[in-house]
């Protein structure tokens, strides 16, 4: 279940703070998940209040 961050991202940064392996990066206009690093644990999804983190 790979995850991605959609344009609903409001740049709060909760997901990046939450990710234990730092696979979420700030790309300026939104955050993005580095797919090779991400192990799909889903921890970021619980702290996203804008519903921007979805399964691919």
């Amino acid at each position: 279940m790979a995850y991605e961050i959609t344009d609903d991202c409001v740049l709060c940064g909760n997901c990046a703070d939450e990710c234990p392996i730092k696979a979420v990066k700030n790309e300026g206009d939104k955050y993005a998940i580095e797919q090779e690093l991400c192990v799909e644990c889903g921890a970021c999804t619980f702290v996203c209040d804008s519903g921007a983190i979805v399964t691919k």
Partner: protein, 355 residues
């Protein structure tokens, strides 16, 4: 699932075996207990889903027989075997144990579905269950612990006398309790894929893949083969899994027809350095949240320390001393630290590079 009330005697965070075993200890005491779970239930969890002899014994002593619906096929695993990536002939070798905390004469494990097993344990506890309930934070007040949660998308506060962090390796209860410990943790990534496939490894065994800096596992589960990769150094877990798949394709006749699942999990190094954190006052950590994981087996530690947590809270209610006063002295907790430490040493002796 239950609606949340404003007040409880005990709030347990996490619906795994640790939380369920703690809850079961309260079952007949008349306490008002809720287990909150961030996922919808039943929730799946990345785990081999093998109940090892140590856990089997605990379950036999404290629970009714395991119901049939929690089992997958093959129903039991005989023992472990391993292959080494650097072995030119890629021999399948016999491994001395399935359960590193147990006598090898008592080997065999049950092959179960974690989602069904964990939910059965929770339901057997008699506690109220609230799913889709994510712990935001909590604070201690003189009379209560106020716990902020997001339940079905709505932010709310609930209160309890005791808070049990049974919320695993990425424990939010631990994070608030000991931010300095959190900063010091190193994280290990595990990644897994499930396949409909052929392979020339016989079902009914737990297979380990050992590499210089990593290890993985291969397990037949239902109609699928699960391959898992755990990395403790620079290589990503996804890349490591690709290497395992290439190795098994070349050496063991792996032919993948379809990938049916990809998922992962993170573990920290608390168990490998024996750095247990039991809690503070009437906030207790249990299972992996406290650092209790036996080598290759988190379920037994979770059940054992869960029971100790429950008993410590009951003693605290009777005496007025804090739950931690009892939990930190509890014979099961003292013994579990030693068992965990020994099992990790044994794991290293057997050539597992983790830790």
């Amino acid at each position: 699932m239950s609606a949340l009330k404003e007040n409880y005697d005990v709030i347990i965070v996490g619906s795994g075996p640790a939380g369920a075993a703690a809850a079961k200890t309260f079952c007949h005491s008349g306490l008002d207990v809720v287990i909150i779970e961030k996922c919808p239930l039943p929730r799946d969890k990345m785990c081999s889903g093998v109940i090892l002899p140590s856990a089997r014994k605990f379950l036999e002593q404290h629970y009714d027989d395991l119901p049939e619906h929690i089992f997958t096929t093959p129903r039991t695993l005989k023992c472990s075997r391993y292959v080494r990536m650097n072995d030119d002939q890629s021999r399948v070798m016999s491994f001395p144990a399935l359960d590193l905390a147990e006598d090898p004469s008592d080997e065999y494990g049950f092959n179960v579905s974690r989602s069904a097993f964990d939910l059965w344990l929770c339901e057997a506890s008699g506690a109220a269950l609230a799913d889709n309930c994510f712990l935001i934070d909590y604070k201690e007040e003189p009379e209560n612990i106020t716990v902020q949660v997001k339940h079905n998308g709505k932010y709310m506060e609930i209160k309890a006398k005791y808070l049990i962090g049974a919320d695993g390796t990425i424990s939010r209860v631990r994070r608030t309790l000991a931010p300095e410990l959190e900063q010091s943790l190193n994280w290990i990534a595990l990644y897994e894929e499930h396949y409909e496939c052929q392979i020339d490894l016989e079902p009914g065994w737990m297979y380990w893949i050992l590499d210089q800096h990593s290890f993985g596992s291969i397990l037949h589960k239902g109609k699928n083969l699960h391959i898992t990769a755990a990395t403790t150094w620079g290589e990503t877990a996804k890349n490591l899994l690709k290497r395992y798949v290439n190795f098994l394709t070349a050496q063991h006749g792996l032919k993948i027809a379809k990938t049916t699942m990809t998922r992962g999990i993170i573990m920290n190094d608390q168990p490998f350095r024996g750095d247990y954190l039991l809690g503070k006052g009437n906030i207790l950590l249990v299972g992996e949240a406290a650092g209790f994981v036996r080598a290759l087996d988190g379920i037994t530690s979770a059940l054992v320390t869960g029971k100790a947590t429950g008993e410590s809270v009951l003693q605290s209610i009777q005496s007025g001393k804090t739950a931690l006063d009892y939990y930190s002295q509890h014979e099961l907790v003292v013994a579990e630290q030693e068992i965990c430490n020994k099992s990790h040493l044994k794991m290293a002796e057997l050539g597992f590079p983790a830790g």
